[in-house]
């Protein structure tokens, strides 16, 4: 790299150009100029030389050659945000981290920010990501009044951290007996709806209130039918999104 200094050499001619104060001062000033850095404040249009330091769009830049061009931002460094299947054990206030279920093939990515000032035990607060969505499409039946698994249990989701979570879920349900009541439970919270007619399907969905759930808890849909008949459930889905976690 050839650095171009602001210094312009003397035009020496043997036996003609005097080695006097003016010429020597120019050399000394050039040395000083080349060796030092000069902070010049905000960049403005003009010619800058090697060693000039300016501020442009909030970033300080140093010129490495003579130039009249405006500074060009460099590519940003990769995000320092931690990315993994756990969150940092000793976070600092404001730190961000991304929680995934797999670093090589994740099904969700949840970005959290650590709020040290939170009075909650759940100081990692969600600031980005998509919900975990788990489907079970199979149509399967039950005659049980209490909530039970169907032949294909679930859908279910294992909560990775203790925290407050939003859950929403749904299914298509039909009953073989008019007036019977279909039941759907998510993590023990049940919802019921009546069968309007024989084998009439109803597509239902529910959004649960934010609930505190312990780590490793399996949130699972279960099914039931009351007042007789056979209940058929299909197109089952469960969606889980954290609000904040420990």
């Amino acid at each position: 790299v050839s650095l171009v200094a602001h210094y312009v050499p003397n035009a020496w001619t043997d036996n003609v150009t005097p080695v006097d104060k003016a010429h020597m001062d120019k050399i000394e000033n050039g040395l000083v100029e080349a060796a030092d850095l000069y902070y010049l404040g905000d960049w403005s249009a003009g010619t800058y030389k090697e060693g000039d330091i300016v501020v442009y769009n909030g970033v300080a830049y140093i010129a490495v050659r003579q130039t009249s061009a405006a500074p060009v931002p460099w590519p940003p460094a990769p995000s320092p945000t931690v990315y993994g299947t756990t969150l940092p054990a000793s976070p600092v206030d404001g730190q961000e981290a991304i929680l995934v279920d797999s670093v090589t093939n994740p099904s969700y990515q949840w970005r959290f920010r650590y709020n040290a000032g939170s009075s909650s035990g759940y100081k990692w607060e969600l600031v980005g990501g998509a919900p975990a969505l788990v489907p079970v499409f199979a149509a399967e039946t039950t005659t049980s009044a209490p909530y039970v698994d169907l032949a294909t249990p679930g859908p279910s989701f294992t909560v990775p951290r203790s925290g407050d979570y939003y859950t929403s879920f749904g299914a298509q349900g039909a009953g073989s007996l008019k007036g019977s009541v279909l039941s759907l439970s998510c993590g023990g919270n049940g919802f019921n709806w009546a069968v309007p007619d024989v084998n009439y399907g109803s597509l239902v969905s529910f959004s649960d209130a934010v609930r505190s759930i312990n780590a490793s808890t399996v949130v699972k849909l279960q099914y039931g039918i009351n007042f007789g008949g056979t209940g058929t459930f299909q197109q089952r889905w469960l969606q889980v999104m954290p609000r904040r976690v420990a």
Binding site: I53, V59, Y61, P73, G128, S202, L203, S205
Partner: protein, 194 residues
Amino acid sequence: MTDLDLAVPLAAPNPATTDWVPLGATQGAMAYGTSLPASPLDGQLAVLVDSVTNPTYQWQFRYNAGSTSAYKWEFVGGAPFSAVDSSTQALTVSVWTGVLPTFTLPRAGDYVLGASGMLRNATDTTAQFGPGVSAAFAAGGGRVIGGWDSSLARENVRANAQTASTVVRPFGYAATTGITAVNALLTVLPVRVS
């Protein structure tokens, strides 16, 4: 460099063509545009929008070079695309038919789709409704709304391995004539894209 240490990013610009060197980490220069960086670094963040002047969504992604999936840009922030069509749309009999609104997937990848709406049945019959990328996709859901009055439907599905430019929309199926969809709502959120 005898006077100071300079901050050098992993992908250093060419010295032969560089006039200025920043004296610290570049701030606020995260890529923001209608496409994602072509040569990203592991961990790089970028925001994808449909318009830089009036976007309808802003999705932040993180590039995971270690992912075994082809979809290495993983969604880490942003709100869903959401649109509703308040018109009354007739459903075609015995055929899965797309209705408004629509959304064109900007990148190949995995997405979470949602659709909801009210189905009005003039007679005692059956209708079906759900989000999809095609009639076949929607039909695979078999989402049934029964009854002879108005029914509300809402469905969320995950649509994996979709190609770029795929058009997403709610789909409806009517067993008989006279069934309409009203206030059809579509939501789209990426999970990971290429």
